[in-house]
Amino acid sequence: MLFSFMLTEELAKHAAEKVQEGAPELPNFITFLYHKFGKVALVGFLHHWENVIFSWMVVIILCFVAYLAYRKRSIMPGRLQNLVEMVVEGLDNFICGILGPPGRKYTPFLGTLFVYILCMNLFGLIPGMKSPTSNLNTTLSLAICVFFYVQYTGIRNLGLVGYLKHMAGDPQDVVTWILVPINIPIHIIEELAKPMSLSLRLFGNITGEDVLITVFVGLGVSALSFLHLPVGIPFQLPFLFLALLTGTIQALVFTLLSTIYFSLMLPHEEH
C-alpha cells in the first residue's frame, strides 16, 4: 500500500518530466529504485538492463507455473493442471490445424512463443512493471529466432537443392527459368522482410498502447495536481482494457504469422 502511494507520487513527477522529453513511459519499480538509490551499482545495473530483467521475470514466473503444474500431475487433474493442459491442447490444435499433423513437432516452439509474448505484453499492465516487448531489442530477438528456425526447417525439409529451388521460385518451364534471376532477389528480400515486419509490428503495437496509457495517466495526474495529493483521475481505465485486447491479439498474430512462415517452408502436397 505504502509502495503504491510512493509509486503514485513518483509517477506524477516522472510522467510530467517524461512527457516533456518525448517518448513517455510509465515508471516501473526499477525506475523508482533508480530515483531513490541511483548511486548503488546494483540498481544502476538493473536500470540499464531493465528490459532483460523484466523478460527474465516473465520467464521465471512461467517456469514456476510449469513446474507447479508438472509436479503434482495425476489422471484426475487439479485446477492448475487443468488450466495448463487446456492451454497446451488449445495451442496444439491451433497449430496442427494450420500445419497439419506433422506440424506437432513445432508446437513446443510456437506455443512457447505465444505464451511468452502474451505474458510479456500483459506484464506491463501490472503496476510497477513494464512490458519488455515495448523495446525493439526484445521483439527483434524473438523474430530472429523465428527467422533462423524457419530457414533451418526449410533446408531440413526440402533439402539444400529443394531449398535453393524454392528460393528461385520453383522453376518448371522456360519462362520460369528465365525469371529466376528476378525471383532470387525477391525471395531473399521477402525472407529478410519477415523478421523485420514481425518485430516492428509487435514493438509498435505494444509501445503505442503503453504511450497511450502513459499520456492519459499524465493527464489524470495533472488534472488533480492543484490538490497536492498523490492521486489522479483514472482516465487510463478504458485503455487498460484496450491494452488487454491488443496484447492478446498481437501475441496471437505473432504466433500465427510464424506458423504461416513455417507452413510455407514445409513440403506442400496440395497444389
Partner: protein
C-alpha cells in the same frame, strides 16, 4: 520553417494518412469476411483466421508510420 516545426506538423499528418489508408483496407477486409461468415457460418473459423492474418498485414503498414514517429519523436522540442 525549422525542421522541428516541420516534424511536429508532418509526423502526425503522415500517421493520419497511413491510418486512413489502412482503415479503408481493414473496412473492406472485415466487411468481406463478415459477409462470407454470414453466408457460410460453418466456415467461420477458417474465414476468421484468414481475416486476422490479413488484418495484421494491413495494420502493420500503419505501425511502420507509428515507428517512424517514435524514432523521430526525440528530435521535436
Amino acid at each position: 520553417m525549422s525542421y522541428q516545426t516541420a516534424l511536429a506538423i508532418f509526423l502526425p499528418l503522415g500517421l493520419a494518412i497511413a491510418a486512413m489508408g489502412s482503415a479503408f483496407g481493414l473496412g473492406r477486409a472485415v466487411s468481406a469476411a463478415m459477409e462470407a461468415m454470414g453466408r457460410q457460418p460453418e466456415a467461420a473459423a477458417k474465414i476468421q483466421l484468414g481475416m486476422i492474418i490479413g488484418c495484421a498485414l494491413i495494420e502493420a503498414l500503419t505501425i511502420y508510420a507509428l515507428v517512424t514517429v517514435f524514432v523521430l519523436q526525440g528530435k521535436i522540442s
